[in-house]
Amino acid sequence: MGCYHSKRTKETPGYEEPTVLAAETPCEYAFSRGSLLQHPSFTVSEVEALYELFKKISSSVIDDGLIHKEELQLALFRNKNRRNLFADRIFDLFDVKRNGVIEFGEFVRSLGVFHPNAPVEDKIHFTFRLYDLRQTGFIEREELKEMVLALLHESDLLLSDDVVETIVDKTFSDADLKGDGKIDPEEWKEFVSKNPSLIKNMTLPYLKDITLAFPSFVLSTEVEDSEV
């Protein structure tokens, strides 16, 4: 009783059909968050183009079809060993299952928020989770200071501790409207609406033209080798 199944050599662990992912990206996500905005999700060919990108990144250090942290570091910094607090946070947020790797489905769904047409609310919420380092549901003053220090260290910017404290204090008093020593999601939303450039990193214009940059030669119909 032979069991024949088509060889899906191009697939990686965690691979999901482009048609499934295209249906699931931003549109449904927005509805589940109560947004009434209609906006396009990734098309099937965009998902296929993202797969080309995913393959490139996920094979760069360990060729297993999964993005490891080193591979993200290599893609962002051209240096697989460069550690960075913010890249770590990006990695953790993309790694929805928290199994230490980013699978294709997680990759596509997470990038959906970065599409120029994705709802601003989603972008705002993503940055909140990004900056909530210890995932307490709030951005605490210590976390903010830690992030500022990390940035200064990363960019060789030299500022005295006094100046850092002053800046953190001022930011916190502007954002922490309730004055309880931490920034909650509502306060964050309010703060971003006054400072929209704070979510500038959350939009990648490339995503609109992704099919040009990563042409996919995958046929849209996949033929099964045989029937069972």
Binding site: I167, Y206, L212
Partner: protein
């Protein structure tokens, strides 16, 4: 077709263009977003300071463009440093530099400008942000063109001019 490829050198992967036979330019540099920011900033007081989250946003770990653009290198393509010099003085120096080097100033705001030269191979944007009453962050970025051109010009010519007291 070759001319069309040569005339825009902004992060353009000419290999892909030949494959697709498509002349649509891939905008690897978010000109549209920059314009929107410009319009907003010109309307605001120029004395708006960077807040702590603005500073954090500078991180290359938060700039996912690097995933898409192979030519973009967060280390070589720009630099930021803190300066105590008045932004007006700084901008004056940059403008003079542009004049001397015969660079065309493409966009100009109160505390920033973008200049182009060497047939489009050199594109530099310089922007000054207020940090506190006495401190400013100067940011110089490659806004297109050739990475080598930028690095060479920035390191050997423009940076020394800006840092000279």
């Amino acid at each position: 077709m070759f001319d069309a490829l040569q005339s825009r050198s902004i992060g353009f992967n000419s290999h892909i263009a030949i494959k697709k036979g498509n002349h649509k330019e891939i905008n690897f540099y978010d000109e549209e977003l920059n314009k929107a920011d410009d319009e907003k900033k010109d309307g605001e007081l120029a004395s708006t300071s960077l807040n702590a989250f603005d500073i954090i946003s500078f991180s290359s770990g938060l700039n996912l463009s690097g995933l898409f653009d192979d030519s973009y290198n967060s280390v070589d393509d720009g630099e930021r440093f803190v300066s105590t010099e008045s932004p007006e003085n700084l901008m004056k120096k940059v403008e003079e530099f542009a004049k001397e080097e015969r660079l065309r100033v493409k966009r100009r705001k109160e505390l920033g400008l973008e200049m182009e030269g060497q047939n489009g191979n050199l594109m530099i944007s310089v922007e000054v942000y207020r940090l506190t009453d006495t401190l400013f962050v100067v940011e110089a970025k490659r806004s297109g063109g050739d990475a080598g051109c930028f690095k060479e010009t920035w390191k050997n010519k423009l940076k020394p001019v800006i840092m000279a007291t």
